[in-house]
Each structure stands twice: as C-alpha cells, then as structure tokens.
C-alpha cells in the first residue's frame, strides 16, 4: 500500500493557529477527565479508607495484567448531569487484558455516592453489557454499589432499557456462552445482588462483601427482624451455606487475584480471522492532528490528512479517488488489521453517497471492518439534487450501511449534523464502538443555523401578529437558543448522555481503534453471499 503524501505545512501559520487552539481544547479535556476520575470530596475518600476499601482505579491496577493497555469507555458520563456530583456515573468500564485474556471490566466507583446507580449509571451499564453481547467479550464485574438512587427510581427501574436490562443482558451473555465473573467488594443490594448471582463465577470479600435482596434496614422495616449485613448475606453465609457465591476472599487483593485465576481458566477466545499484517507506526506524527483540526467548526480540512496520522505507515489505498470526492473511501491498516475507511470531505452528494454504498458492499463481502470518520453537515439539498434522487441515494447508503455484517467503528472527528450522521454510522446504527474528539459537535443542525432558523420563525410569527422586533430583541431571542443548542451539541453533553463510548484525545484514536477492532473479533462475522452492485 502506498503512503499518503501529506500537504500540510507544519510550519505555516494555519497549522500553528490550529495547534494553539487545540492545545487549549485538549488541555481542557484532560483536566475535565482528570477531575472526573480523581477529584472526590475528602469525606468520601475517608469513608472508603475506613471501610477498608480500595479506590476503584487501584482495584483495576490489581486486576489488569501489568504492562497492558486499558481502553476506558465513557469516562465523562454524567459530567453535565446531577449537578456534576456523579462523575463517570459512578462506574469505570473498559476493555483490557486480565490473565492474557481480552475482557470487558465493569467496576463500581464507590468513591462517588457510594457507587449508587443513577439513571445514567444504568445507561452506562446497559451499554457496557450491550458491547459485551455484540462483541462476545467476557465480563469481569467489580461490584461495590450502594444500589439504585431511589429518588430517581422512575428513570432507573421500569423501562425496557432501565435496570432490568442489565440483568437481562447478563442472562443473554450466559446463554451465548460468554463467561462472567463477579467480585463482590461491597454490598450488592436488591438489583445489585443479581450481578454475582447471574455471573458464572462469584468471589466475595469477607467483611465488606454482601449479597442480599433486602438490606438490614429494609428487613427490619418489613419483618421486624434484626440482623447485621454480614449475618444476612456476608461472605460465609453465601460461600458456605447458600452457595450464592463461589469463592471466599480474605481481602480485596485476594478476591481480585482469585478473579484473575478464574479468568485464566475461561474458555479460550475463538476469534474471527480477518486480514492482518505486522503493524507499522504511522509515518506522520499523530500529534500533527492538533494542527490539522480547525479552530472553527465551519472551516474545512482534508480528511486524508487525518487518516495519514492514524493508520499503519500512513498508508492508504484510496478507492474511486476521482468520483464522489466529498467522501474519501479506501483501505488502510490499523494495528495490522485491514479496514475500510470512509471519511467526509464536505457534504454528501449523490455520487459520494453511491460511492459509499458501493464501497461498503465491497468491504462487507470481503470481511473488512469499516471505520467511519465523521465530519459531516449533511446531504446536499436543492432542486437539482432532489431531481437526481439525493434522498434515494442517501437511502441506498443508509440501507447498505445498516445491513453490513462486518463490525463498524465510528469516530466523530469534527461535526456530526443531520442525516449525515445516519449514513456515516452514527449511534443508532450500532457501530461496535463510537468515539468522539473533544472538539466535536453533534446535533440535527448547526447551532448557529438552528438559532437563526428558529428566530426567523419566531420573528415571522410575531410579524403576523403585527409585531416588529428590534435587533436587540431579536438577539435576545436568538442568543439563548444558540447557547442552549451549543451546550447540547458539545462533545461533553453528548458523552454525558452516553451518546458515545467516550471522548478520546485524537492521538489516542489509533490505539482505541486497534483495541476496538481486536475486541470485536471475539464475535463471528457472517459471510454474506451475493455480489457487489455498482450503484
């Protein structure tokens, strides 16, 4: 494969301006992430210490193989909800290596509200288990949760994708033959009790671990019975008498060590085989991405330059380079895996939509996973385009994209607006993993355009009633709309709402994708019969 020839002037003003701007953006992102991961009220940390409990990230250090990577998912979940008091939605999920095995780890963060489950915590759990199901990843649960945050129970309990879905997913994993191990490091009350019960293997720590459908206060209230947590559902009760848990552990370290042994005995992964070669580092420095991404969402850049800083050897085989040029298609390798990349270089026209559909068929037939790099404002609109069937061609692209059997991976590189998000495998289209960059924005249309449009409608409405508005009054209507829109289209809002699997630093994209692709291969890839249609 040939190396992309870059045309970026890394010494030019544009590059330097963008780099300076993005340095800010990234530093803001890293600080937000750091605070979300580590800043806790002292009394919460003291409480943990008094309970003899380890901080969740220390538990992860004990669990994961030393010298291996860990891809954390949705680290900034709930960062814009609940007054910012539930960082990470009180849990740490991610993909890593335990005893040489690729697993999904779901760990309660009991330093946040005792690990209580908020609505977004449930969403984050369900999403993690959906990832486990889609990719057939074994799961290690490190449970230490105070249980559901009762005041918000109506958003936690009853609906299809609420709390019950967590347990339904666990049951489905078991049915699919995907193993799970749970280490009970705190009280698993009510729903929480089902996590170890629905896992194939359960380790429980003496003294701190507990499994009970109703905790001591509830039991006292319901039946008048006086009982301690340990007597009710502690380690010995469940490992010696009831058989609800399998392994007693003397300490958290002991429990996690036992979990590692258990994972070592999981059935060996049977991974799908796709085209793979010895990896090569990108030729161009990934850090140059900071100087390529513009400082304004309206400014254009060449997606090939982004690709060049992400793929093995910066090599890219472009497909149909002269046709449908607003969509870049081609083959490349990421950490050795051959993938088909689709990246936006402008709005989607008829030809680019058709080209995308054609290319995706090729990849699907040849078992080549698809990587979507989104920077899209939408499909082209206008009379000529409608006559040419832009809606029809967009539907072709969506139909093919939705129907491929190869795994899809999406990165929101800059803008993700409107139906372009759909064609380019947005969240609703089940990419196995979807990551965003901190500068990205996502909404049905751009904030400025939306604010203008809505303001225009309001002005027209008032005009019918005979009211004329001054520029200041117009601004007074427009600005709040614009700000609200901006807020709700920022990457931080999106990630807070679990619309993605996490904001990542652009230079980390290659590793994140490498791990994601590897993880996805734990599930089989169907061989699709049929030829490729040239649309």
């Amino acid at each position: 494969m040939e190396r992309i020839r870059s045309h970026i002037d890394t010494k030019g003003k544009t590059f330097k301006d963008y780099a300076a701007h993005n340095a800010q953006v990234l530093s803001e992102f890293h600080e937000k992430q750091r605070a979300s991961r580590f800043e806790r009220p002292q009394r919460d940390l003291d409480r943990l210490a008094k309970q003899n409990k380890l901080f969740v990230r220390d538990r992860l250090d004990l669990l994961l193989d030393p010298g291996t990577p860990f891809l954390e998912l949705s680290s900034l979940a709930a960062n814009q909800a609940y007054g910012g008091e539930v960082p990470g939605a009180a849990m740490v999920n991610g993909i890593g290596i335990v005893s040489g095995r690729e697993v999904l780890v779901m760990a309660s963060d009991s330093s946040v509200k005792g690990g209580a489950l908020y609505p977004l915590s449930v969403a984050k759990s369900v999403r993690a288990l959906d990832i486990a199901i889609e990719n057939r990843l074994p799961v290690v649960h490190l449970t230490d949760s105070a249980g559901a945050f009762l005041p918000m129970q109506s958003e936690i309990f009853p609906d299809k994708y609420d709390g019950g879905r967590v347990f339904r997913n666990q049951a489905m994993l078991s049915k699919m033959g995907v193993p799970q191990v749970a280490v009970v490091l705190g009280h698993g009350t009510a729903g929480g009790a089902y996590i170890p019960a629905l896992s194939d293997y359960a380790v429980i720590v003496r003294g701190t671990g507990g499994i009970f459908l109703g905790g001591p206060p509830l039991v006292k209230a319901a039946t008048g019975e006086d009982v301690t947590a340990d007597e009710l559902g502690g380690c010995d009760v469940h490992t010696q008498i009831s058989g609800t848990a399998d392994y007693p552990a003397e300490s958290e370290a002991d429990g996690i060590r036992q979990a590692r042994e258990i994972v070592a005995l999981f059935p060996k992964a049977e991974k799908s085989v796709i085209d793979w070669e010895e990896p090569e580092d990108p030729f161009y420095d990934p850090k140059e991405l900071y100087g390529i991404i513009p400082d304004d969402i309206k400014k254009q850049f060449d997606m090939r330059e982004v690709i060049a800083r992400m793929v093995d050897g910066s090599r890219f085989h472009e497909y149909q380079p002269a046709y449908g040029t607003t969509l870049v298609c081609g083959y490349a390798r990421i950490w050795g895996y051959k993938v088909g990349i689709l990246g936006n270089n402008g709005v989607l026209f008829n030809d680019s939509a058709k080209k995308a559909a054609h290319f995706m068929q090729l990849c699907d037939r040849d078992r080549v996973p698809l990587v979507f790099l989104q920077n899209i404002t939408g499909f082209m609109i206008g009379k000529d385009y409608e006559r040419d069937g832009i809606t029809k061609d967009g539907a072709k692209m969506i139909m093919v994209q939705a129907g491929v059997d190869v795994p899809k991976f999406t990165v929101l590189v800059n803008g993700s607006f409107g139906a372009g998000n759909y064609g380019m495998a947005g969240r609703a289209w089940d990419p196995r993993f979807l990551f965003t960059w901190p500068n990205s924005q996502i909404s049905v249309m751009g904030a400025e355009q939306a604010a203008k449009t809505l303001t225009m409608l309001k002005v027209a409405q008032l005009a019918k009633q005979g009211k004329q508005l001054s520029p200041e009054e117009i601004a007074a209507i427009q600005t709040p709309i614009y700000e609200e829109y901006s807020r709700q289209s920022s990457a931080y809002y999106a990630t807070s709402e679990l619309w993605d699997d996490g904001i990542i630093d652009p230079v980390d994209t290659r590793n994140a994708l490498g791990i994601s692709i590897s993880a996805s291969l734990n599930a089989p890839i169907e061989r699709r019969p049929g030829g490729v249609m040239r649309f």
Binding site: D65, P66, G67, R257
Partner: protein, 150 residues
C-alpha cells in the same frame, strides 16, 4: 502474582512476565536469551528446586510459594529444623523442660556423622517432635521452644 526465588539465603521477587527465551540444546545445556545477549547455562528443575550452572558455578534456587510468605513468620524461629535428612540418635529433653542456651536437646545422625541440636536461647521446650530411631527429611521440625511472647 509475582514469583519469588530464594538464592543463597536471600529472597528475590520478580514479575512473572518478561520476554527472555530459553532454548534447550540436544546435548544438555541451554541458551538463555536475555537482555540482548545469550548465555550458556545448564539447568534442571525438580519440584520447586532449580539448579543452574552458569559460568562454571553451580547455584541452587528455590521457588517460594508466594501465598505462604505472609503467614509463616511466627512459628519459624522457635523450632529447630533438620539441616539434612537423617535419624534421631537420642533425645535429651522433654516438653515442659527448661533449657539453657547451648544445652543439648537431641543428637541426630546423617551420613555417619552425628550432630548435636543445641538450644539457641534460654527457654522452655514446647515440643519434641521426634523420638530416637525416627528418620526425618531435611527441614523437618525437630524441637520447638516456647515462643518468647507467649
């Protein structure tokens, strides 16, 4: 869990991971590829005892079970253990008896050599584990003195 090896009376803890390689040759020795160079060694392992001959010197290494290191501390110092396999010739003391530092507790024989096990401090005999005529292996507990804090 780290691996623990004892060499020359000192314990060393090392990571279980690493990318060195051991290539055994047909005629007996092996090549150890480590840190960019290769070393010719002879090595054999029996249970948890590992013997290595490196640069004309023979080393005996014992792999220690990492799970046992934490708990064993207490009893070790108060019991005399057999330095090598042999037979008990005579026992000079019994449980409950007060002994002085240096007092002969028992006599053992191995390879036609007799050794006297003497008290390593003043104290009270807690237990005599063997009787005259009993055979024992290396490391077998022979006589225990009551712990000092007891």
């Amino acid at each position: 869990m780290n691996r623990i090896f004892e060499i020359g009376g000192e314990r060393h803890e090392i990571s279980p991971y690493g990318n060195s390689e051991l290539l055994p040759m047909d005629d007996g020795p092996s090549w150890l590829l480590h840190g960019g160079s290769s070393h010719r060694i002879w090595m054999a392992r029996d249970g948890d005892r590992i013997f290595v001959r490196l640069n004309g010197r023979t080393f005996e290494i014992e792999e220690i079970d990492p799970r046992s290191t934490a708990k064993d501390g207490a009893a070790a110092d108060d019991t005399a253990k057999a330095p090598m396999p042999g037979t008990v010739i005579s026992v000079e003391v019994k449980a409950g008896q007060t002994v002085r530092d240096g007092e002969v507790l028992m006599t053992i024989e191995s390879m036609k050599l007799q050794t006297q096990i003497t008290a390593w401090r003043d104290g009270e005999v807690e237990a005599v584990h063997l009787a005259p005529g009993d055979e024992f292996d290396r490391g077998a507990p022979l006589v225990g003195l009551k712990g000092e804090d007891a």
